[in-house]
């Protein structure tokens, strides 16, 4: 009974997977994204990119949650954050994650960047991925800058004043850029609205497709060697998995010959 159920469930699962694979190619894609042979030496260093992606995902998720209570007006911004921090269920946790993961994000990006730099991962044919990465870094920095003002407290306010005043010294573009950011000639309601618009829509919307391009280019070239090497390694991995399943088959059903003879031939 249990055995039949199991085999039925297995059949259904296989049918659904095949159906999806046939129409979207999602299984091959997932395989391509998940299975990447990495060298044993220094394997933890290769997780820095994923760590960055993880922090950014956290920013997106907690940011969406914070939007349920945050109000971007000069008379309510501070109060709404006070509400989040003191009254809302788990508000301290959600905002704390948003705040701290933003801080960690910048640290992890720095580590990720230095790992790529010192291992020479920016060299041909991966130069464009480095360029996209730098664009991502700049976007994240502007996100951090615009997020600071949204708190509308003394800290964020004066940090933004100083930041904008630094920018205002740039020749020719400085003045207009800062007036564009401030939405006038002094910091006020317009500044808060603009920083809010940049922080929650414009910059994330620019960030997301760039992350997609970054990952696509990463997968196109692989982290270690060319596409050819990659498929080569993947083929070996599949072969090993096949052999293991043969052995399993052998043990379960007691049918002797194929797997074993195969393997002996090979060795």
């Amino acid at each position: 009974m249990i055995g039949r159920l199991r085999s039925q469930a297995f059949e259904t699962g296989k049918f659904l997977t095949d159906w999806m694979e046939h129409r979207t190619g999602i299984v091959t894609m997932t395989e391509h994204f998940l299975y990447e042979p990495v060298p044993k030496r220094g394997a933890w260093l290769y997780t820095l990119g994923s760590a960055t992606l993880f922090c950014i995902s956290l920013q997106f998720l907690t940011g969406i949650l914070l939007l349920f209570y945050y109000v971007p007006t000069t008379d309510h911004a501070w109060n709404s954050i006070y509400y989040i921090m003191n009254d809302a269920y788990f508000g301290t946790l959600i905002r704390g994650i948003h705040y701290w993961s933003a801080n960690f994000l910048l640290v992890v990006i720095g580590l990720h960047m230095s790992q790529v730099f010192f291992s020479g991962g920016y060299k041909a044919p991966r130069e464009l991925n480095w360029v996209v990465g730098v664009a991502l870094l700049l976007l994240v920095i502007v996100l951090a800058f615009t997020g600071y003002l949204l708190r509308w407290d003394q800290d964020g306010f004066w940090a933004s004043v100083v930041g904008m005043k630094i920018g205002s010294y740039s020749p020719f573009v400085g003045g207009p850029t800062i007036r564009f950011l401030m939405g006038g000639d002094v910091i006020g309601p317009s500044t808060l609205s603009r920083f809010f618009a940049l922080h929650v829509w414009l910059l994330p919307a620019a960030l997301a497709p760039l992350i997609g391009i970054h990952l696509y280019l990463l997968r196109k070239h692989g982290v270690f060697g060319s596409e050819f090497e990659y498929s080569d390694r993947l083929a070996k991995l599949h072969e090993r998995e096949r052999l293991e399943s043969y052995e399993q088959y052998d043990e379960d059903e007691g049918e002797p010959f194929t797997g074993r003879r195969d393997r002996e031939d090979r060795e």
Binding site: V162, M164, K165, S168, P176, F180, M182, G184, V186, P189
Partner: protein, 231 residues
Amino acid sequence: MAELQKDPMTRGDFLGFGILGTIVGAILTIPPAAFVLGPLINSDVRGQSDIPSGPDDWFEVTSISEVPESEPKVFTVDFPVEQVYGKPEIQEESGTSKQEFTVPSAIWLSWEHEINADGTYGQSLRPSFLDDRSDGFSESEIEEIQNSLNVLSSSCAHLGCPVRWLVREGEGEFLCPCHGGIYNINGEYVAGPPPRDMYSYDFEVREDGTVYARHEFDTGGANGPQEPFVI
């Protein structure tokens, strides 16, 4: 090379595409660009400011008798910021909120001092008739007061942090907490990164001894005019 265009383009086609492209491009880009660049158009092209700073827009700071003889004192003025939803017409139209949108500005008032060659402060130039009276000044007295009063913006001329008055060994100075810019009691540059003296407000003293300020600054100084991003 990839072949994008199968048929060669004639000159007429080229012209047509050019004109059509310009029209469609303008329709697609001008409205959103003007929408987000509105404040730039208002302040740079039409010369508007978000803080009323016309000839009649004076805001009360304090009474002249409140200014100590030999050290500065800080006062806060709430200049109304008339940006976006904070504009008075809109507030009036909605009727639901009468709140005025302000960003408090700190203003330091001090009496001008003579500065000795070694940087120490000499005599205060505070008019002596202030000892007896605090209002009912004549025009020449007002003139004298205005010539010896410093009305300084608390924003450091370097990067805009608020300066504070620090007294050390009997001598005070304005110190910026961010990068250590130092100014003397008259707001003149002494040391540190600032490129010029502190910004001073446009101000006037009236007959009853009240100081009024306008959101206008002197933009000159030793290093020429700078755009006043004094917040």
